[in-house]
Amino acid sequence: MIKITTSDRYDITPLRSLMTNIFSLVAGLFVIGIIFLIAGVNPLYAISEIFLGSFGSLYGIKETVTKAIPLILIGAGLTLAFRAKFWNIGAEGQLLMGAIFSTWTGLTFGDHLPSYLIVPLMFFSGFIGGALWGIIPAILKIKYSINEVISTLMLNYICAEFLTMLIVGPWKGSTRFGFPGTDNLPEAAILGVIPGSRIHYSTLILSLICAVILCVVIYRTRFGYETRVVGENPDAGKYAGINFLKTSLILMAISGGLAGFAGVGEIAGIHHYLGYPASVSSGYGFTAIIVAWLAKLNPLYAVFSGLFFAGILVGGDAIQISLGLPAATVEIVNGTLLIFLIMGEYFLNNKISVHVSTKSKG
């Protein structure tokens, strides 16, 4: 008889945890390689193409940084929510809400205000949009004990449909020849880019500032302290007199608001108008979950893991074109890596032993 048992591991060192992560990534890439093999592509070639496509050329690097911007913003915000064990998987919807709010601001006031007013105003309204969409599940959870995984996930779809309704209905632009989508934002509302790239630097700088501030918030402030206590042990939080509603509202406002920032960046920095949900975001809200996880829930590390996953997105796009793989390739790569990272986490925290005995007594 073979029995597999698990027990808690007590001796986790930082080195061990780093090695586990690296090993998980390698193992994940190995499985991805097998998938490539099945698809009839040389796996070594494909994987090296991914990394060459993203980090191997100036163009690749520029694209990687561009895609890292929303990932860093959202990923950093998620580290805060996840620390409180608030499983926010609704960043995609929060991003879209931010995009909707800021588009409205841009289209309404963009013609009358100078750039230095309209841009901050758009970021502000985008934050509000994301935050509002973020605090709904917080209220539902604390007041009515509705599981946040379900509510945040569902709110994604509601927001996406709402956005679609806007762009095929009331907000459809007169310059779009009948195609869905708003008009382009006025010149003043469009973010500047680093010449020769699509890197909208104001959002990039904002994302780095946010990561640093969040780090301070988590480790230095009373609010961050309360977040960590609630996440570690809700009963102790209650005993300590922490107000759960207030804490959850603030942390979801921040987490959603940062996703809203990302939405502003995508609209004002890249697309310049509000189009279909899938074109606005390409799943950043979901990829950022992996970003936060790989960052070990530390917002500063989210900068690096954000860049890493942005690289995979860009590299995945590159091999789609060069190797003629289907569009789902990137998602397979991302999903596989997430599974391996989570498995790695499990093996890090639990010791597994296989136990063989010939015959056990009754």
Binding site: K3, R220, T221, R222, V229, N233, A236, A240, S360
Partner: protein
């Protein structure tokens, strides 16, 4: 066990430990908080790997790399903090830990087996109850059944009695005696010397991770054991000087509170508490003590009645509001309420206090003050730890306890609500804590002390209330002659 060594972060928790148990023998393991008892037993049970050393059974060396292997070698363990799944039923919990649980319909086959077993040892329990509905004693019995079902020859009990009522302790001891008669081996960890003297055949004493002595209980006494353990003589009594009660601090009027099972747990309790006073609440566990303490400190809702602190109404106010009105709380379920296990010591040292001006400035925490405060608690209360940058879950049970006590006492509360404050503390620390409570009393604070330990109650309290089924059976002064009938009152007779 031979020459066992184990260190954490370069600090020895166990050093060159030699230990043996013969069949049909109960071995007591004694030592101060943090001496390494739990660590040593975790090694034997396969939870930790020793850095060096050897475990032998019947003379042949074995390697135990996880609890399943220890179970096949006939070793079972009941942990200091129970490890049952609260939302599962008793039977499900047993099935989970049983090595031959069938894959399909695991409960059916097991039920008969468990029922037979319970009869043999005279356990009474409802197998379909959820674990969270059970008292500590009942939970412990599940752990013992789990171990015995798996055919444990050697049963390790880590501080089994600290959470039990006196009656439950008696029952446990008779179970242990029966097991001993059946030829089982038992390792019994306790801080209560009386129990050790009572049931153990031999004692091994640890100090700072090393064995400092062995003794047969037949030719030693409490005093000698305590000396061996602490390294100096321990004085066993303290005197409580006479103090006149001062102003009224707390007044509780006719409060009713609902318990976890949805039944009334506290039914119309009233009392007042004055400065310079320690007010004891005696009673067998599970008679509403926990609910009463939680209601006063704001963790549990009060259905009717009122609580006033310094003449301000604090009924159903938030725990923080109540704390700010001068009420500290050492909760009964400390691991559940009292700490955030994965956070550092200094984070845990301000769990209830972090919002105070002393530790926070606007939105920020003043970590340098926090750390200094933590260091003070650690040195005042002799918390054994290698550093304050240590997750609190790494501390020994008694040291977690000391940190919580230090945290709640050091702020000079007007009222300290302390539930079983000496559970799990070693002799020295118990003595120290009692002195501290008396010092608080002298400085004009009052203490509401929940305890089952009558000796402790008699030693410390100015007045004692006896609680039974959520009601007070009476309130007695410490010099009242009826105090000798307290046992009857605890069993529910009023008549005074």
């Amino acid at each position: 066990m031979k020459d066992i060594c184990k260190s954490f972060h370069g600090i020895h928790a166990n050093k060159d430990i030699n230990l043996y148990v013969r069949s049909g023998e109960i071995l007591g393991l004694l030592g101060e908080n943090g001496a390494g008892k739990t660590t040593l037993m975790n090694i034997l049970y396969g939870l930790y790997q020793p850095d060096s050393g050897q475990i032998e059974i019947n003379g042949s060396p074995i390697r135990i790399s996880n609890p399943v292997e220890s179970i096949t070698h006939g070793i079972g363990m009941v942990h200091q903090h129970f490890m049952l799944i609260q939302n599962h039923s008793v039977l499900e919990n047993i099935a989970l830990g049983y090595k031959d649980t069938p894959f399909f319909s695991p409960k059916k086959k097991l039920r008969k087996q468990v029922e037979e077993f319970s009869k043999q040892f005279d356990f009474k329990m409802d197998l379909d109850q959820r674990v969270w509905q059970l008292s500590a004693g009942e939970q412990q019995r599940i752990e013992i059944i789990k171990a015995l079902l798996n055919g444990a020859d050697l049963l390790i009990l880590d501080e089994p009695t600290s959470v039990l009522t006196p009656l439950e302790i008696k029952e446990l001891i008779s179970i242990l005696r029966q097991m001993k008669a059946d030829g089982h081996m038992i390792i019994f960890i306790s801080h209560k010397l009386d129990e050790i003297m009572d049931i153990c055949d031999r004692v091994t004493v640890l100090q700072k991770g090393r064995v400092v002595g062995h003794a047969d209980t037949a030719d030693t006494n409490k005093k000698a054991l305590a000396r061996m353990m602490v390294g100096r003589d321990v004085v066993f009594n303290i005197d409580r000087e006479k103090l006149e009660p001062g102003k009224k601090v707390l007044s509780v009027q006719e409060i009713h509170v609902t318990g976890d099972k949805g039944m009334p747990a506290v039914r119309g309790v009233s009392f007042e508490l004055f400065e310079n006073e320690i007010f004891g609440i005696a009673g067998v566990a599970g008679n509403g003590q926990r609910e009463l303490a939680e209601a006063i400190t704001g963790i549990r809702k009060i259905d009717s009645g009122s609580v006033r602190m310094n003449d301000k109404d604090i009924t159903n106010k938030s725990p923080r509001h109540i704390y700010d009105n001068g009420v500290s709380h050492v909760p009964e379920e400390r691991i559940r309420f009292g700490i955030a296990p994965g956070l550092f010591l200094y984070d845990n040292a301000i769990l209830k206090q972090h919002h105070l001006k002393k530790f926070s400035k606007r939105y920020f925490l003043k970590y340098s003050q926090v750390k200094n405060h933590t260091k003070t608690i650690i040195s005042d209360f002799k918390v054994a730890t290698h550093s304050i940058n240590n997750q609190i879950r790494n501390l020994s049970g008694g040291n977690i306890q000391k940190l919580i006590l230090g945290r709640e006492i050091s702020e000079q509360p007007r009222l300290l609500v302390a539930s079983h404050p000496t559970y799990g503390l070693d002799v020295g620390a118990t003595q120290f804590l009692r002195e501290h409570l008396l010092a608080l009393r002298k400085q004009g604070s009052s203490v509401l002390l929940f305890s089952e330990d009558l000796e402790e109650i008699f030693e410390l309290c100015d007045r004692v209330a006896v609680i039974f089924a959520g009601e007070f059976m009476g309130i007695l002064k410490s010099d009242d002659e009826k105090l000798c009938d307290i046992g009857l009152m605890m069993a529910g007779s009023k008549g005074f």
